[in-house]
């Protein structure tokens, strides 16, 4: 069991967390460097917080009286204001 644990540790270190050895970490850091911030979309326990530093502001979002846009967020509930449906995205498929 201990040998398996050491094996997993070494595998994980090489694959995921050691910057010198891990291609995955090098890729993640390339994105961080290009974007200019470790903008984890789940920061402050809320997916609407792209801005790491916003904290409470992000939970209140950008609408007066509005709160979190994300229904599954366990910090606050979605108020169901009309602003939620302001944007629309359409994908126009490439003609082949």
């Amino acid at each position: 069991m201990i040998i398996s644990l050491i094996g997993l540790y070494l595998y994980n270190d090489r694959i995921a967390t050691n910057y010198e050895l891990s291609k995955d970490t090098q890729m993640r850091m390339a994105v961080v460097k290009t974007l200019g911030g470790p903008a984890i979309p789940i920061i402050a326990q809320c997916c609407t917080s792209r801005n790491l530093a916003e904290g409470i502001y992000a939970r209140r979002s950008d609408i007066p009286g509005g709160f979190c846009f994300h229904s599954d967020c366990d910090v606050v509930v979605t108020p169901g204001v009309i602003s939620e449906k302001v944007y629309r995205v359409t994908v126009i498929k490439k003609k082949t």
Binding site: M1, S4, L5, L8, Y9, N12, D13, A16, T17, Y19, K23, D24, T25, Q26, M27, R28, M29, A30, V31, V32, K33, T34, L35, G36, G37, P38, A39, I40, P41, I42, I43, A44, Q45, C46, C47, T48, R50, N51, L52, A53, E54, G55, Y57, S61, D62, F69, H70, S71, D72, C73, E84, V86, Y87, R88, V89, T90, V91, I92, K93, K94
Partner: protein
């Protein structure tokens, strides 16, 4: 030290555990569950912490935001020019970004439109590796976008498609998808629609001289605090964050999430310890007779206590090792089933590989918290077993 005697006591202890399999499993199985819970939480949290530490070396030294009415707002590019005049400042890059709250199949989701200054951005050397299909934006690209995997999957968009985003106020944006980022970098990019800063400015209605924030790079990271102080003194309506502050924010956020799990885990551990106490304190007739026979054969009270403590040690080691191993594997698998809770959101990120990190300090700590309480709880029942009177038990 009588080594053969201690070896024999150890052998007797292991034999006891095998003979009373059901009782041993009743303690080991809950211990495995408890240790697996704390392990995957520690390793998942450790992954984010480790990533945050590494990321510090790649972040801008200082990030400057505008504050209006106490909230984060736009920042003027006049400020950029002022910051560039500060000694030790090497480069200032503006960024424009904002949220796109959307309905996807009845689910509320928030995506992020990120506008990068393609001429000034410090591209990561390994950036080409992060693009699954297509290519990344290059200077001069307009009306083109690179998508995070979450966005591409949600809208079934591929390279070559056009992404039309419009709002009810009449603002429109149409971008050609030229690249999609890969799964590995989802943790930083899954919700992103990356465009040029000009496109983001035009979409969000920013003026030419406005940005969401400014990324400041100094000539040496040691000067970050000094530069941050100089910027803070320049204006009142700004927020200045050093890379250390941003790293600390990541740690704080995940530390809090980890704290919730620790509270849950503590309750589980107490339940297991009560179970161990109940199992150990109850000495059955058979066990009492066995101990009586052993004492009649010359075993001393100390030997019985030693045997019982070794039994607890073996169970603790087995349960903790198996639990830590299971927790590690579970974390590497992406904590299926409860990943939503671990990550803070579930419905828009169905697949979300997170970094997992296991270090020697965590392992030592896990073994201490897995074995020590068990040994302490077993001490009194072991002593109770040790003082059994052989005459009474054998005669019944």
């Amino acid at each position: 030290m009588n080594l053969p005697k201690h070896i024999n006591i150890c052998l007797m202890a292991t034999q006891n555990l095998r003979r009373y399999k059901a009782k041993s499993l009743a303690i080991i199985v809950p211990l495995i569950l408890v240790m697996a819970t704390i392990s995957f939480m520690m390793f998942s949290r450790g992954g984010f912490m480790k990533d945050a530490e590494i990321a510090r070396g790649f972040l801008p030294d200082v990030t400057v935001q505008g504050i209006y009415a106490g909230r984060v707002g736009k920042i003027s590019l006049h400020m950029k020019a002022k910051i560039e005049d500060i000694p030790r400042v090497k480069q200032v890059i503006p960024r424009v970004w904002g949220y796109l709250p959307l309905k996807i199949g009845g689910t509320d989701a928030a995506f992020t439109l990120m506008g990068l200054d393609l001429n000034g951005t410090r591209y990561g050397e390994k950036l080409p590796w992060t693009v699954e299909t297509g290519s990344f934006l290059v200077p001069g690209d307009r009306n083109k976008t690179v998508l995070g995997t979450g966005v591409a999957v949600s809208f079934d968009a591929y390279v070559g498609d056009r992404l039309r985003i419009e709002d009810t106020l009449g603002n429109k944006g149409e971008f050609e998808v030229i690249g999609i980022l890969n799964d590995t970098v989802q943790v930083y990019s899954t919700d992103l629609i990356i465009v040029s800063i000009e496109d983001a400015r035009s979409f969000f209605g920013y003026c030419e001289d406005e940005a969401s924030d400014l990324l400041v790079y100094t000539d040496a990271p040691e000067n970050a605090d000094m530069v941050a102080w100089d910027i803070t003194c320049m204006a009142d309506n700004i927020r200045v964050l050093t890379s250390r502050a941003l790293t600390d924010l990541v740690k704080e956020a995940f530390g809090r999430r980890g704290g919730t799990f620790q509270a849950m885990w503590l309750m589980l551990l107490v339940a297991v310890l009560l179970l161990v106490w109940a199992q150990s304190a109850h000495i059955g007739v058979d066990v009492s007779k066995e101990i009586g026979v052993l004492k009649a054969l010359g075993w001393e009270t100390g030997d019985i206590i030693e045997m019982k403590m070794i039994e607890s040690l073996i169970m603790g080691l087995t349960g903790t090792s198996a639990g830590v191993l299971s927790g590690f594997v579970y974390a590497l698998m992406g904590t299926p089933g409860i990943s939503g809770y671990c990550l803070g959101c579930a419905s828009i990120y169905p697949k979300f590989p997170v970094p997992v990190h296991c270090d020697s300090q965590s392992l030592i700590l896990l073994f201490i918290i897995g074995i020590m309480p068990l040994m302490v709880v077993s001490a009194v029942p072991a002593w109770l077993a040790g003082i059994i009177d052989p005459d009474d038990t054998i005669r019944g």
